[in-house]
Amino acid sequence: MFKKDMKEKLKSFVFDGIMGSYLFLILVTDFFPLVGLESLTLDLFDENDRLMLDYATQWFLVVFFVLGFLSYVINESGLGKTLGEVIFEPPHKKSRVTIERPRWAQVWFWQIILFLFFTVLVSIRVTEFSFSQLFDEDGFAGVLRLINGLATPNWKLLPKAVSSIVVTIFMAFIATFLAIPVAFVLSFLAAKNIMKSPVGFTIYLSLRTIFNVVRSIEALIWAIIFSVWVGIGPFAGMLALMMHSIASLAKQYSEIIETVSDGPIEGIASTGARPFQVIWFAIVPQVVLPFISFTIYRWDINIRMATVVGLVGGGGIGTLFIQYSGQAMWHEVGTIILVIAFVVWFMDTASAYLREALK
């Protein structure tokens, strides 16, 4: 019995321990400025701070073990349930019929309350939330000037804005277009139901990890990386979008492949067909339409992303925007924003219509 629940007990120990020491850490760092949050991030090399950081780490570990042990005692003694116990409770224990105490008398309830309370408090401090700045008079005047400029756009800039957004649309298109074949091939290698062998599973796992890493790096950051590589301009922006699209499409494609029904696969396999033929005749027909639908949606997303990528020098309408906003030419900026809004609205509607028609 003890052995059976070891894993769950350990999980709940670690969970409660980490939660408790997290609360401890934000308390000491933010309320008793033993180690200020700023010094944690900015001045890591200050000898004094480093000493305090070591000090905090030691205390963190001590608190972790003390609270973890405390949670273990609470759960074992039947005094109550900690949050870790609630989350990682083994199924056979869950089905026990017990007399439950009201929520406010439960340990886990107070753990959630404390966690939320202190996290909200610290988040507000970290973001430097300030009502006085939000309702500042000078600030209001600035915004009014800006809105006024946006409301009276300079239509002389329209041809230039339109030709820039055409660059953006083409950039998004070619990035999506080039990403399709790569993502298509990779998606089959990243689908669990195809990569069943041990070697296959390794490929599946590593590909999925790579996709997630590439996807979690914003297109904006990819654009900066590529602008160092190939120079600032639409080409860098396109490469950034392509990189992001390959990872996103491949992940979505492979998830579609994982939901195909097994019947046709078994049917084609039973004729003695080769594995590639099984994929081509049993899986591909099932995934083609959802693939197209996701690809159109990706193009739509890419147009919006291409605008943002342009802000860091990726070319197209974004670059135009940053030029005029940098000079505080709000009438021109107004024209650009209107053009962007129109195109994004149009592509959004068109892609939604197309995807609906494909169903």
């Binding site: 049917g267 084609i268 039973s270 004729t271 067909a273």
Partner: protein, 259 residues
């Protein structure tokens, strides 16, 4: 009427990776040209048995000797496994066709094993293959639907397409896994009649899983029964009286009749 032993199955055992024992020491012989029906409750191992014969599943132990030559149960080479699948065709309860493709294209998929991969992907089917496919569609009476999409057909028609696809493989044995279980009673007989035709006119050995004893009595030339993975009966269909029925299906069960 029974010919030479086309399959000699001995001590066949199948244990799934999760530990479920689906088949325990099954031994029987299938003779060329017979219409053998396997009966038994759901979960008694009927489907597993069929899938072991064409190696969609790998048997754990035992042997399946095909035409006194090779042992299907122990083949390792994927190419040889595919060759066995081509010779031992199969139809399924859920038909397992490609819904978005036409009837003809589905039947042509029975030819995949015999053509180079690149040709099949470009859809370059030989003229003889198309003619063969149309001939088998004719045999199951739906030649005029050749250019329709499969998902526009009724269940009974889809199962006939599946039979045509199986025949296009040029098989020596046809496995039928609950071929009529998802069809209405009237369509059942149509599909079963085509299986009988395949059996009698083309001389293809048929091994079918069936639920309804009335169908068994009408179509089977021989019956085996499985219960919890074990072979509990082997004989002719009219030997199955009430006593046997209760032994196979459990006490207190009653036979359902189908017209």
């Amino acid at each position: 009427m029974a010919g030479y032993p086309i399959l000699k199955i001995s001590n066949l055992k199948k244990v799934y990776p999760n530990g479920t024992v689906a088949l325990k020491n099954i031994s029987f012989t299938v003779f060329q040209g017979e219409f053998l029906v396997i009966i038994g409750l759901s979960g008694s191992g009927k489907s597993t048995l069929l899938r072991c014969i064409n190696r969609l599943h790998d048997p754990t132990e035992g042997s399946i000797i095909f035409k006194n030559q090779e042992d299907i149960a122990t083949i390792k080479d994927p190419r040889k496994i595919r060759e066995i699948r081509r010779k031992i065709a199969m139809i399924f309860q859920q038909f397992n066709l490609i819904p978005r493709h036409t009837v003809l294209s589905n039947v042509l998929m029975g030819r995949l094993a015999d053509m180079p991969t690149w040709k099949s992907i470009l859809g370059l089917f030989a003229k003889e293959d198309v003619e063969k496919a149309l001939k088998y569609l004719d045999l199951v009476g739906i030649r005029e639907k050749a250019n329709m999409r499969v998902d526009q057909l009724s269940g009974g028609q889809q199962q006939r397409v599946a039979i045509a696809r199986a025949l296009a493989q040029g098989p020596e044995i046809l496995l039928a896994d609950e071929p009529v279980a998802s069809l209405d009673p009237a369509t059942c007989h149509v599909v079963m009649d085509y299986l009988k035709k395949v059996n009698q006119e083309l001389g293809i050995t048929i091994i079918a899983n069936l639920h309804f004893l009335s169908l068994v009595r009408e179509y089977a030339t021989r019956v085996i029964a499985l219960k919890a993975g074990e072979l509990v009966f082997e004989g002719s269909p009219n030997q199955i009286n009430e006593d046997w029925f209760e032994k196979i299906y459990g006490e207190g069960t009653r036979e359902v009749h189908i017209q």
